[in-house]
Each structure stands twice: as structure tokens, then as C-alpha cells.
Symmetry: C2
Subunit: 442 residues, 2 copies
């Protein structure tokens, strides 16, 4: 049993509570009291304590591209060539090292759960490793070392685009068929800090029949899996989907039965009104990755319309141009301000819900992402005395956190009741050194 005492903590209201005592036992929150004085044995958390962030969409290896793709002109599609060049060089050993550093950066930024959209399954050329889940297991091991929960969103990737053959770089992504994908996925053994999800890479990479098979597979599991898919990140995908199937990507997913369960549409940037209605009526979730979407020139997605329609919103750092879920959160609101000329589309509380409870739910960590009895003991503390935040008043702490804080203001992170970040530093390893070492080996 460990007791934490927070000078201020967000318990879901429109402002933080003060003097919050959080009791935990075996990684679970057992009791929460407000208005308390710090007990002698309590670990003090000075600042604003929030539930741990959930990073719903990650491609860990894209971190190697940070600052390497910012010369010259181009588009999402030219960027993808650079990304494939990194993917070509990964193996279970160096991917473990890279993912460990990336997850270390994440947890240092207050992220306690990551959804890894994982399609780097096989050896270059497509031959499986002796252990066909060697790459996924490397990610589990990396997450364990970094002290972060992981949902392995094991991704089916079958074609190079609407029936096209796989390129040489893409060949290692493919299991050959949805059936082979589900056989491999069925053999994954989950560690305590890991969950499983299914993923359809996109309607470019998976035909509608295979989408149906995947949807049936995830729904048939005793504990149905989350299902994620890249949806309409680029206008070209929509055009090609309409040409191939007479339907938008969301329409393809709906008609294949993929929206029936716990579905998350990743990006959801270029949606029609019908798409929004399909996602809303199916109780689906959308995940925005604003810092990636601006980096890759994807556009500004209809997050406000989705929210108003009842679609649950979540956030991800995707390509890791930055790893800062607060920047993702505020960018959702600020992008709409740029586009509309008006302020006040997503308020601080809504944005924090996206970053915490909504995100955990989309990753299958149901009931986490909140500071309440029964939830996982995952929480972070922001230093409200940093140069950026000093002088803000407790009544404005949520707004200060969302609109002015940075990942560097995260001073403490507890995951499953374990202190992983203290004094702003990862307690297990030096993340910057790990990153330097890992990037040297990729």
C-alpha cells in the first residue's frame, strides 16, 4: 500500500481539487480523499496531478525520422519513402533498443499507456522470424523496461495499395492473408503490462473481404479486442477507395462490419458527413495526431463535428515528430481556431479526457485514465512552478496545463503504482543516452 498526497489533482471536474490523498494497493487506486493535509508517510506530489496519458497511436520506429525529413519539398507520400528506408533496417534487437528509448521518452512525458500500431512483423523480404512474433515481443520487452503499458495493435497489411503488389519494403509487413494474420496473432502471449488489439492498416493495404475476417476475429475473442485502422489521412486515399469500391474508407469499414465493436478511426482527417454519421451511430472512436498531421501536411480533421456527433475523441503522437500529448491536445483546439476564426471548440477538460480516460478505453484499458477508486494507479504530476507555468492560479491549472505546459514540465510519473519518473527523470535509465545508442544502431 502506498499513499500519495497531491497539492492539486484533477478528479474530472472543471478545476482541480486541492489536498488530494490517493491510496493505492497493488497498482490500483483504492481510495481518494480531497481537502486533506499531507500524512507523514505519504509521498508528496507538488503541482497538478493528472491521470496518466494514453498515446493511442504510435509507430515507435518513426522516431528515427525526427529531424531527418525536414529538407526539401514533398508530401506525405515522399515522406513515406524515408520511413520505409528506416523500416528496412530494423530487427528484433535494434527495434527493442529503439522502442525502449522511445517509450522512455513517452513515459517521461507523462504517457502511461501506448497503442503501438505494429506492422513490422517479418524479416526483410517477408520470411517470418523463427519466432513469428519476435518483433511484437521486442516491443513488449521495450515497454516493460520503460515502465509503460502497451496495447499491441497488431496490424494486418496485405497489399501495396488497392490490390497492388507489395513493394520490397512492404513485403515484411504482410502475413499473406487475414487468416494467416489471425493465426499468428492468436499465438501472442500477453505480459501483465500488455494488451492486444487488432488493426487494419488501411483500405489501401487490406481488401474488404479481409477486413471482414479481421472484424470477425477480434469480435469472437472471449474479451473482444479493440480494432484500429488508418482512415482518410490523405485525400488520395478517399479518391482511390471510391474508385476501387465505390465507397469511402469509412464506408468500406462499415460495410465490412468493422465498426460493430470497439473501433477507432486513426486520423479521420478527410471525412464526409456520411462518414461522421457512420462513426457516430456505431459508437466508434477517432484518434487525432495533430503534430504528425501538420508535419505530414495531412490537413485539419473534423474533430469538432465528430465530437458534436457523439464520436469519442482520443490523441496520439503517431510519427513522434514530437512526443508531447499536451501539444497534441492544444493543437486540436488551436487548429480549429486557425481554420474558423473563432475560439472555444474543445475546452481544457474535454482535451484532458481525450488524453486520459478516452484514450485508455480505446486501448482496452477500460476504467483507467481517471483518478478514482478501482482505476489503475497511473498518474503524472506537472510542475506548476516551471518558468512556463509559474504564477498561474489553481483555478486555471487545467487551462495552464493544456495550453501552456510542455512535456518537460512532467516531474513525476507513476504507472501501476510504480514510480517511473521522479524529479523529471526516468528512474531506470537515461533516456537521452538510450536514444543516442538506439539511433546509432538503426
Amino acid at each position: 500500500m502506498t499513499t500519495y498526497w497531491c497539492s492539486h489533482a484533477w478528479l474530472g471536474r472543471d478545476h482541480p481539487d486541492s489536498g488530494v490523498e490517493i491510496q493505492t494497493d497493488q497498482g490500483i487506486i483504492t481510495n481518494v480523499k480531497t481537502g486533506t493535509e499531507p500524512g507523514e508517510s505519504a509521498t508528496r506530489l507538488q503541482g497538478l496531478t493528472l491521470p496518466g496519458f494514453a498515446n493511442v497511436h504510435s509507430h515507435a520506429f518513426h522516431r528515427a525520422l525526427r529531424s531527418r525529413t525536414q529538407r526539401g519539398k514533398g508530401s506525405f507520400w515522399t515522406w513515406r519513402e524515408n520511413m520505409y528506408a528506416v523500416a528496412d533496417n530494423l530487427n528484433p534487437d535494434n527495434y527493442y533498443l529503439l522502442a525502449r528509448a522511445v517509450y522512455g521518452e513517452m513515459v517521461s512525458a507523462g504517457i502511461s499507456a501506448v497503442g503501438e500500431f505494429h506492422y513490422l512483423h517479418h524479416q526483410p523480404g517477408g520470411t517470418p522470424y523463427d519466432n513469428p512474433n519476435a518483433m511484437g515481443e521486442a516491443l513488449f520487452a521495450a515497454a516493460a523496461e520503460a515502465g509503460i503499458r502497451i496495447t499491441l495493435l497488431d496490424t494486418c497489411y496485405l497489399s501495396g495499395g488497392f490490390g497492388a503488389a507489395l513493394s520490397p519494403s512492404q513485403s515484411r509487413f504482410s502475413d499473406g492473408s487475414a487468416a494467416a494474420w489471425s493465426t499468428r496473432v492468436s499465438s501472442i502471449a500477453l505480459p501483465e503490462h500488455g494488451r492486444l488489439g487488432g488493426a487494419v492498416h488501411s483500405v489501401r493495404a487490406v481488401d474488404p473481404g479481409s477486413v471482414s475476417e479481421i472484424a470477425e476475429f477480434v469480435a469472437a475473442r472471449p474479451d473482444p479486442l479493440p480494432l484500429h485502422a488508418h482512415i482518410s489521412e490523405q485525400p488520395l486515399e478517399n479518391e482511390e477507395s471510391l474508385a476501387a469500391y465505390g465507397m469511402t474508407p469509412t464506408g468500406v469499414m462499415a460495410s465490412a462490419g468493422a465498426l460493430e465493436g470497439n473501433f477507432t478511426a486513426i486520423h479521420a482527417t478527410h471525412l464526409t458527413t456520411d462518414d461522421i454519421n457512420l462513426l457516430a451511430s456505431s459508437g466508434s472512436t477517432a484518434c487525432f495526431c495533430p503534430t504528425t498531421e501538420r508535419d505530414l501536411a495531412d490537413g485539419i480533421g473534423p474533430s469538432r463535428r465528430l465530437d458534436e456527433s457523439g464520436v469519442t475523441l482520443t490523441l496520439g503522437t503517431d510519427s513522434h515528430a514530437m512526443i508531447d500529448l499536451l501539444e497534441e491536445a492544444r493543437a486540436l483546439e488551436l487548429n480549429h481556431r486557425l481554420a474558423s476564426g473563432e475560439r472555444g471548440h474543445h475546452d481544457a477538460v474535454s482535451l484532458l479526457e481525450m488524453a486520459t480516460s478516452n484514450g485508455n478505453e480505446a486501448l482496452g484499458w477500460t476504467g483507467s485514465g481517471t483518478i478514482a477508486p478501482g482505476a489503475a494507479a497511473d498518474f503524472l504530476t506537472l510542475d506548476m512552478d516551471s518558468i512556463r507555468l509559474a504564477g498561474s492560479q489553481p483555478r486555471d491549472y487545467l487551462e495552464a496545463a493544456v495550453f501552456s505546459a510542455s512535456a518537460t514540465d512532467v516531474s513525476s510519473v507513476i504507472v501501476a503504482g510504480q514510480q517511473i519518473v521522479a524529479g523529471g527523470r526516468h528512474v531506470r535509465f537515461d533516456v537521452a543516452s538510450a536514444m543516442r545508442e538506439a539511433l546509432g544502431s538503426t
Copy 2:
């Protein structure tokens, strides 16, 4: 004489040089050598050394609004009411304290010169202080304490909007006439770290005849002053300008002769093609403040078209929703990616020029903002071993700095040959404590 040895420094090329020795004397760079080993007596600067940043557009007191205006809905115009409420409470004593903390935050972020667009001249109600420049002198004193160069862009503000009376909050901004403004400005005594510029608040606040008087005044000085003005931040300003004068704000400035000298158009968000041509043909400068412009729902300005037309671009943090010139720089590029679907509008070198040499020039610090003999000894060093930057390669350091670094990565700042920031901390005072104290008094 002090010698600095930089592991890497940007000397204006498309990548940094290594082993750069910078010799300084009395605040001026006297010699620069590359490919050197560190001399025994040299101060070592490990990381990427850049010329000091110039923050071309600041309203120091807006810093008090950070995180206080993010609730509810609204627009630029409702935000302005909050801003006036802060302005109402300032006097030379508490404004000194606030500006000292804000300038301390700036220099901690690598900013070595600030352009303070200053219109808080008189007592509430409009009566001058015994010393009519008491507020401006408070800003000079604050900048001296903080160790930052300041260009006091003394701002003429005469009406509440296209001939309308001043509101009670606005009354302290006004000198009553352009003639009275120029009389007061003429009496300003400049400290060594200070320069003077003229400013027209906007065509809302200054009639065309008065604009002409101001333009004549700044041009007639022995050393002609820079002239700045808010231009077309909001569509409504354009509409009202056309209704009142049959011209856009840029057109009003041009016909009043304001573009003849060293003119900087602040914001320049909603420009016509004719406006862009007027700014280009007059050799004018534009200043973008992207983090403020997204906060206030202003829109995305035509920075690329201005750049292609030959208008010099600069950057400012304006309302200080954030103080991070690297975030301003990348936002200029990333906003265009969002709007256009393409990457590669402003490259890292162009964005760094905006943040350094271009900005210094617009503030009247001609020849500064570059690491070269004869320039001011103003430079900052980024810690390339931070969690965000570790593992990036020297050939990509400029891209890493612009697209991935944060103000918190600034480890050292030298201004006029004096070390103001060392080990990431201001050497003269604790900025966070100063901010807390100052915000408590406003």
C-alpha cells in the same frame, strides 16, 4: 576579450560548422574560426550555437493572460476585453516587475533582443505620469535587469476605432495627437541596451493624417527609426478600413508614406495581392506571431507569398501564450502544410534567418543576429543531448533545432558578450519566482 569554443555553430550555411571559435571583445564578435580544437582558456559551448533570437513583437503585459483566457468561447475581440482588464491595473512599479520576469523568460528561451510594442503610456484615464515616459523607462529597466536588448517601439494610439472615441481602458494609451506623441517620444533617453522605434497601433487607432505625421517624424530622425504597425490581423479590420477610407490597412499605410522607410507589418494575416505588392515594392518587412495568431483565431497569413515576393520575414511571440521562438518558427511552416497539403514552404535556414538576422534588422540592431566579425556578441546554445534532440546528427542539427527543439533546450545565452543564461538558468535571478511575484502584483 573572451573566447568561446562551440562544438557546433551555425554560421549561415545550410548545416552547422564544427569546432567554431568565437572571439569577442567589449560585446562585439572580433573573430570566428572553424575546425578548431578548444583552447585552454576558451569557454566551451557544447551543442548547437546560434545567433541570439530577435523577438520582433512583444506586448510584455499580455503574459499575465497566459492560461486565463482559455475558458468558454469567443474571438479576438472578446479576448481583447480580458487584455484591457490587465492593462487597467498596471503602473510603472508593477509593470517593471512583470516585464522583468517576462524578459527573463525570453532570454532563457534564447531571445537576445525584443521589440516592445508599447502603448501603455499614461495613468488610467489618460493623465500623464509626472515623468511622461515612466512606463517606457520601466521597460528599459526591466530589460536591463533581464539582460536583453530592447527596442522600444513607442506606439501612437489615438482613437477607439476608425474615429471612434477611446474607451475608458484605452484612454491611457493616447497622447491626444501625433504631435504630442512625437514630443513625448523625442524626450526619451536611450540606455546602452535600448533602441527606439516608432509604431502606429493600427488603422483602427490612428487616422491617415496622423500616420503621415508619424512616418515623417521617424524618417526625419538623424538615424531613421524603424516603424511598426499592426496590419490586417482580423478580417473585420480590413472591412472597416475599406468602409472608412476605401483602402486596406496596407493601402492606408502606403498612401500615408509609412512604407518609405524601415517598415514592419505586424501579423499581415489577411492581405490582398495588392497589399503584398505594396509591401514588396517598398522593401518592407512582415512579422508573424504564429502561436498568438492561432491562440486568437486570427488565421494563417501569406508568409510564403510574401517571402516569394521579396518581403523580409521576422517572428514575434506577441501575447506570450508561449515564449518559444522555435515554436513560432516551425509553426510558420507547419501551418502552411496544414493549409496546402504540401511540405517544404520555409526551410530551416530561412526560419532561422527570420528568428535571428532578419529580426534584429527590423528592430534597428543592424548587423546583429549573425555569428560573424563585427556583429554583436549575442548567441545561444541548444543542448543537442536533451531527450528531444539526442541522437540527431550534426548534418541535421538545424532541422532538429527548428522542428524538434523547445525553449527548454536552451542551455546558454550570451548577450553583448555577457553570459546571461548558464546551465539552462538565468544567472541573475530566478525567473519563475520573479514571475510568480509579478503576477501576484498585477
